[in-house]
Structure formats: structure tokens, C-alpha cells
């Protein structure tokens, strides 16, 4: 196959975008990958382990990040956004806004001296605000590209016209306060793959978590927060401690369908929570074999490969008790131990359970800014505000030449996201190769 003169654009640098880009690049098609965050990796980078193999998430992701970064057919535009798309299938013109990092990419070696000296402490988004980072920072430890970024909104120089300590700390003279945003134009883009992932309901509708005491009780956390708590490179260094007293929990309740399968919030099923909850409980048990876990659920949805066996293992080997139930309310005692009041569907009785920590399996929602993105690309969204696709014509959006994969069009797990990503790449290649 001759090298194509047309390129592909992949929007989103999570696992779906990465797989789509790698496949296209391995076919010999040039790919421009655009990622809004300072580093690619997406949600998968935030996870501790992944079901059903319990592989360490970053360990299996990192080689793919590297591959994306080094691939001769991939140009990575991190910390960038698509701001204009014109044209039609086979010949799009795309404008990318590359935001200034105020750090020279060619010079920075990610030694971290600048961040050590930076006096500004700000909430760390990657760690779900469970710890602070500096105003000059790496998005996360293993992030790619491994380049520091100055958070303009928080940096003392940009906000108060004082400091510039990082500039002095940097031995490579990589800090550049005069750096400007850039506009990059891509011509002759044959097809586009949209893989911008998802947000979680607590990001925009925190009230959905109110009845579970989130925000009010310190020992109620979300699943993604718990993921960071379990993670070795997370804010607790992999030693799970509850926030009220720093004690390792011995009894954890995992509550399913938070904000999902709900008349008030999201009607749909978030698809992945039954499985990741079991995984989180297993990993917590591996940290501490005296742990008791209770999973409060409506239906255990485990249809994927090896998933049922995974649940069975959870119950038999990891001390997980699955309770088909409806949560009525959550309260705390004087030691801030959450007390769950629930209706047990097995016998119809109202019961109480006191635990040390509650973990909420919150609902996947469409990613921030999806309406703008849809408008920009000229594609339709569905009733739930995810990208609209049609059954039997998967990975296709409403517009020719624009494909999609992963959670941006439907909540799904990593294997399905990866499958769809390759599928989207296949269809994108068809357009580029004129099929």
C-alpha cells in the first residue's frame, strides 16, 4: 500500500484515541492527535488496576503512550484543542489551538526542579483534588509528553506579576514566560476520529450525590477518588486511609448506580461500575486481608469475557458480600462511621450496616464541552448528549468521514473502547484510501 497523502485526525488522547491513532499510524497513515490535557493517557491513566485481569493500569498503558509519542506517523498535539473544522469527508481542513505551556518543549527534561521551588499550591485535578500540585507541574508522573506546564490561572507571575522562581530553578533555561498560543492548520485531513471520553456525574451535578452524604461526610468518597487512594503513585501512596482520622478502613460499602438508572438524574446504566467496584474491593482486600466489603446493587451486570468468574472470585476469595438492595439513607455516628440504611431485596426487610468507608460508583456522563465539539464538527448528539451513533452502523457519527469510539458515545469498558477504536480506525482508513 502506498503511503497516503491524506492524514487522519484523532481527537482525544485516552486509550480509545491512542488505539485508533496507533492502528492508523501502523497502516502507514499520518495521524495528528489532539489532546486537551497537558499529557495523553486519559481516564485509564487515573486508574489503579483494571478488571478482569487486575493488571496495573499505568503499567500496561505506558508502553502505548510511549509508542504514540515516538511513532514516526503520529504528530502529538497535547495541551491543544480543535477550534475549527471545514470541508467534507476525504478533505477536511482543521485548525488546532496549541496552548502555551510557558515551557520550551525542546529543552524541558522533566527534572522537576522548577516544581520543587514553585511556591504556589493548587488542587491537583488528576488526583481528583485529593492533594495539591504546584502551579508549574507535570499533569501526572508518567505523563507523555513528559514536559512541565505552567498553570497560567494560578501562576504568581501571571496573576500577581511576581515570583519567576521556576525560571531561576531551571538549569536548562526551559521556562519561557513570553511563549504564545499557536494556531496550527492541518490540510488534507481525510477522516476524523472523535474519542474525547467522559466525565463523571460529580463533575457537574454534585447534588446527585447529596443523599449519600458526599461532601458532607468525610468518609464517603467516589469510586475514582478511591481508585487514586489505592494507587501507589496516588495521594496516599497506595495505603488506603479514610479522611476523617487516617485509619485504614476494615469495612467498606460500595454503592452502585449513583446517579444512574435513576428517574431524577441519568436514566441509563453506566455499564462499567459493577465490574470496577468488584476490582476495587479485590485490590483493597489485597492491601489488607482482614477487609470486609459490601456491594449494594440493583442488578450485577457482568456480561463481558471472564466477568462472571471475576464476580465469583470476588465473593469466594476476596470477602465481598453482594447485597441486592435499595439504599434509603446514609448517616454517621460520632466517630464519623457511615451507617447505611437499606432495604434488602432478598427478604424485603429494612436493615442497617455500619461501615468505615463508603465508595460511590458514580455515573459516566458525556465529556465537558461536548455540545461545542458537536457544533464544531457538525455532528449530532443523542437524547443523553452522547455522540449519536446508529446500531448496526457502529463507530459512525451522523457526518460522513467522522467516526467515534469509546465512552463519548456510550458508557463502555476498556476492551470495548479499544475494539471500537480499531474499528473506527478501519473505517477512517476506508475513507482515506478512497474505498
Amino acid at each position: 500500500m502506498e503511503k497516503s497523502s491524506k492524514s487522519a485526525l484523532v481527537i482525544g488522547g485516552g486509550i480509545a484515541g491512542i488505539q485508533a491513532a496507533l492502528d492508523l499510524a501502523d497502516m502507514g497513515i499520518h495521524v495528528d492527535m489532539v489532546e486537551k490535557k497537558p499529557s495523553i493517557g486519559g481516564r485509564m491513566a487515573q486508574l489503579d488496576k483494571t478488571f478482569p485481569t487486575n493488571d496495573c493500569s499505568i503499567c500496561i498503558l505506558a508502553p502505548k503512550l510511549s509508542e504514540c509519542y515516538r511513532h514516526p506517523n503520529i504528530t502529538l498535539h497535547a495541551y491543544s484543542e480543535v477550534q475549527k473544522v471545514e470541508g467534507t469527508a476525504g478533505n477536511f481542513t482543521v485548525e488546532i489551538l496549541k496552548r502555551a505551556r510557558y515551557v520550551k518543549e525542546s529543552e524541558c527534561i522533566n527534572c522537576g526542579l522548577c516544581a520543587e521551588k514553585c511556591p504556589m499550591r493548587v488542587e491537583d485535578e488528576f488526583d481528583r483534588e485529593l492533594r495539591k500540585r504546584r502551579a508549574i507541574y507535570m499533569y501526572y508522573l508518567q505523563g507523555v509528553p513528559a514536559i512541565m506546564t505552567i498553570d497560567k490561572e494560578k501562576c504568581l507571575w501571571f496573576t500577581k506579576n511576581a515570583c519567576r522562581i521556576c525560571e531561576k530553578a531551571c538549569e536548562k533555561e526551559a521556562i519561557d514566560f513570553d511563549q504564545q498560543d499557536q494556531t496550527i492548520t492541518l490540510n488534507n485531513v481525510g477522516s476524523i476520529v472523535v474519542a474525547t471520553g467522559y466525565n463523571l456525574i460529580e463533575d457537574f451535578e454534585k447534588e446527585a450525590l447529596n443523599i449519600y452524604g458526599y461532601g458532607k461526610f468525610r468518609n464517603v468518597v467516589t469510586a475514582l477518588e478511591f481508585e487514586r487512594m489505592e494507587c501507589a503513585s496516588g495521594p496516599q501512596g497506595g495505603h488506603i486511609k479514610r479522611f476523617s482520622d487516617g485509619v485504614t478502613p476494615k469495612k467498606i460499602a460500595f454503592l452502585q448506580c449513583i446517579g444512574s438508572r435513576s428517574d431524577r438524574y441519568k436514566k441509563y446504566c453506566s455499564s462499567i461500575c459493577c465490574m470496577y467496584t468488584t476490582k476495587e474491593a479485590m485490590i483493597a482486600y489485597e492491601h489488607d486481608n482482614s477487609l470486609e466489603s459490601y456491594v449494594f446493587y440493583i442488578d450485577m451486570r457482568a456480561g463481558g469475557k471472564g466477568f462472571q468468574s471475576f464476580l465469583r472470585r470476588g465473593a469466594s476469595d476476596y470477602n465481598i458480600d453482594y447485597i441486592k438492595s435499595k439504599i434509603a439513607q446514609i448517616d454517621i455516628d460520632k466517630d464519623e462511621n457511615p451507617i447505611i440504611v437499606y432495604e434488602d431485596y432478598d427478604d424485603g426487610k429494612i436493615k442497617q450496616l455500619k461501615v468505615d468507608l463508603v465508595v460511590l460508583a458514580t455515573c459516566i456522563i458525556p465529556p465537558e464541552g461536548i455540545e461545542d465539539m458537536a457544533k464544531l464538527l457538525g455532528i449530532e448528539l443523542n437524547d443523553y448528549n452522547f455522540i449519536k451513533t446508529t446500531p448496526f452502523i457502529p463507530v459512525e457519527t451522523s457526518k460522513n468521514g467522522i467516526f467515534t469510539c469509546g465512552c463519548v458515545h456510550e458508557p463502555m469498558d476498556i476492551p470495548r473502547s479499544v475494539t471500537e477504536a480499531s474499528g473506527a480506525a478501519a473505517r477512517a482508513a476506508e475513507v482515506i484510501r478512497g474505498g
Partner: protein, 562 residues
Amino acid sequence: MTEEEKKEDDVRVGVFICHCGSNIGGLIDCKGLADYAGTLPGVTHSEDNLYTCSETGLTAIKTAIKENNLNRVVVASCTPRTHEPLFRECVSEAGLNPYLFNFVNIRDQCTWVHMKDAEGAYAKAADLVKMGVAKAEKLEPLDMIKLDINQVGLVIGGGVTGISAALNLSRQGFKTYLIEKEAQLGGRLNNLYKLFPHDIDASEIVNRLISNANNPKNLEVLTSTQIVNIHGFVGNYEVEITQNGNNKTLKVGTIIVAVGSSLLDPKGLFGYNGQNIITQYELEPKLKNNQIKAKDIVMIQCAGSRNDKRPYCSSVCCMTALKNALIIKEKNPDTHISILFRDLYTPGTEYEEYYRKAREKGIIFINYDVDRNPNVEENQVRVYNEYIGEDMLIPYDLLVLSTPLVANTDNKVLAQMLKVPTESNNFFLEAHVKLRPSDFATAGVFIGGSAKWPVDITESIAQGYSAASRASTILSHKTIEVDGATSNLPVYNKNLCSGCEICMKVCPFHAIVKNEDDEIEIIEALCKGCGVCGATCTNQAIVIKHFTDDQIMSEILAYGGK
């Protein structure tokens, strides 16, 4: 300095100990291990990294190679299964032959399996590092093997997955063969009535796919065709087929397995009689022909699945039951339909909405527990309802069993021909459940659809495309490089070979043959470097590159062997 000159030079080993976050560093002292490695003979540089595989870690390796003029690199970390290619590429970028890199597994084999014994884990890690360094000293540069690629695709199975894969490959411009054992394309779809969640006719989808498949320039559809045998390797497979008694060999570069799944034989399940107790699958044509007159219908989910014999969820049956129940309700709203279920599987947006719709239409859902299966009696089903704590009696004049999809019984035969594995339920097993869902571990062979695991039509199509994408990453090139660490019969050993042919018999990859001169010949492209031939060779004539006797002995001696 060229590689040759470096080889002549003294051995200079660099050792990198990875913390792998806390996977390794949380249990053992990686800094201490790195210091220890620094004292080993031949080691001129050692360091520990939080994540050696991160860009920062890789840069550290490359910098150390340059600064210390290293000519061997040892990384002690997670597992070569996922990370060896990355580190090989890294040392190669720094100018070193990729085979001068050695992997030492101190996560899977030390800190994970011995997580309750930190001291023991450290001691073992130290031993493994010592052995790894000893082997590294003996490593020799090797070349990758370059193979020509026959840029032709083959898809086995003309169901919805296979057609989607074949159409995509052909539209990408590759000559593609689509093989179907039946007389017509369409597979399981030919027997279905309507498809969830939009209730469109299955025939509409089949016809659309088939008409596309019958009209492309690069696609050759071979129906009533069966596979006889498969030889070869990535880029160069030879597939013997038989069509109506005529045999033929197809030469292709990649193979996609899309053979689908089978139906469970329902005999003995919940009083199955094929009359008023039938399967969902048998219900479909009856719905199509408007033959359903029953007033009281009961459906039982997980009939034959999620039990000890078949521990998996077949994932399509809940939606199938909902769809068929809704179709009946639509035609005759007075029909009473009860669905007995364990966990209703309707993940995502539209499927959950479909479930809501079914409830709104008055379909009754009753939960049952696997320990108290519903009891089918004459004209009624007895099911224990935990919520109310007693048996419920539900009358039926039609009982429909939602039975699972099961793996084809002949999967094993095909698996053997392709040298790919199957899992405990006999479905095909992909290379990595999480990140390589469409690949087999065998290069050039790919998988999609319910041959791998029960999936619905939408996912089958996506998986067909996915397999096509993976195949295209190979077919798009004229050549490919494969691992050079193969078995070898060096010229200087030829006189040792007695021609006993034991190696030919034990080779699981059929990589060893006798040539025209009646001499043993090893086809390197087929060899996976497993070493069986080398171990069985009675005269030690066969050498396994990258695992030579000398290299392995050096490890054993380093450990303390004599």
C-alpha cells in the same frame, strides 16, 4: 564506534531497577538492589527509577548508554510480556542492537508472588538480577528476520462479523477472500426475526450486508467452502480449502477468525419439549410467521448459563427476551408476559431505556435466585420470590427459555490449525483481554464476534471492523520484521546432526523440515523460539539464538551452580 567494535570491547553492563510505583518499590528496597547490581562483575552503571518504562525512565537509559558507553542493558521490572519490545526499541534508539538487552522479571516473579515475604522477595530479586547480568555479558547481537507480505486478507466466517471485516478490508484496497461453510452468507442473522433495540428486520441488515458483499472489486466470496488445513506464518499463510469437492490453496497475509458461536441444546432444561416449552431462538420464526397465540407467556433467563457448568453470562439473552416480549405485547397487548431473571443485563443508554419500555408496557419481571431455580410444572411455573418470602405460581401456555450462545464444537480443530488458544468455555482466546481484544498471540491472525465471546449484532460489526483494522496494520506493508531469537542449526554443527528427525516431530510450529539434500532445515520465519528442538536434540547440534547453552549456563553458574 560500530556494533562490531563494541562487541570486541569489554562488556559494559547498565542495570536499571524499576520501582513500578509501589508494585516493586513498595515491598523491596530498589535503591539497595541497584547499589548491589553496581557491585556485580561487568556492571559499569546502575540506577533505580520510579517507572523505568516512562519517558523519563527511557531517557535515563539512553543517557546512561551514551555517557557510560554501555554495550549491554539489563532492566529489572514487571514482565517481558508487555514491556520487552519497549525496552528493546529504547536501546536500539541509543544505537545498541536490541538483542543486547536483557529483561529480569522482579515484579511478577518476586514482589507479586512473594508479597507476604519481603525479605525472600528481595533475595530472589537480587539472585535474578545477578543471573540476568551474567546472561547479559554473553548476549550477542541478532538481526530481526525480514519477511515479504502477501497483501491479501482472508476472513473465515460469513456472518455479520465476517462480512463487516471483509467489506472493510476490500474497501481499504486489499484483495480479500471471505469463506463461508454454508451456501449463503449471513450466518445466525438468517434465522432471526427482528433486531433490538430498534426492532428492525434482521433480513434488512442481512440483505444490506450481502448486497454490499456481492458487489465490491476486491472481494471474493466463497460459500459452501471449508478449511482443510492452514500452513505458514504472518504475511505468508497458505490456506487449503475445499468447495463442493474441489480443493484449492489460497495464499494470504492475514487471517480473521469470525466463525461465530452455536446454540445450546436445550434438552433437559426446564421441561423443554419443543412444543409449548421452546427457546428464544425457536420463538423467532414463530413470531415472523405470526404463529404465537398464547395468552400466558413465561420466559426464563439464564437457562443453562451462569451455572457451574457454564459460568458465563451470554450477554445477548436479556435484550432478546425483552425484544420478543415487546413484539408479542405490541401485536396482542392482552398477553400476560412474565420474565423470570437473575440480573437483568441491559447496560448503557438505549438498552436500559428498552428495559424501561418493557416495564411500561406491562411486562412483569420476577427475580429468582440460582439456588432456587424456577420449577416448571404442568401449565404453571413455581418460582420462589425472595422478596415476599414464598412461592409464586405463574400460569403459562408458552414457556420460552433464554438459552446461552455456546462455543462451536469444532473451534478446537480450527484453533489447532491456526496455533491459537481457546479458553475454558472453548471460545477463542485473544492475546490480551484488555488491550489486544482483536489480536491472537500468533502474528497475523485476528478474532472478532461471538467466536470470541457472546456479543450482539452491533458489537459484532464493530469487532469485525476492529479485526480488519488490525489485519490492515500488517497488510499495508510489503515486508514485516519478526523476532530473530530463533532456533538455528549452525553450519559448524551440521556434522553433529544425525538426521534423527526428533526435532521435526517435537516442533509445535512445523518449522523444521528436511530439504532436498536430506538435511535438517529450520524455517526461521515459522520458529517461535520455544526451544523444544534444542532441548531434545540428542547431539546438541541445534542452537537457540538468544538462549544458547552458554548463556543459560552463565545464569546457572551465577546463581551458584557448579
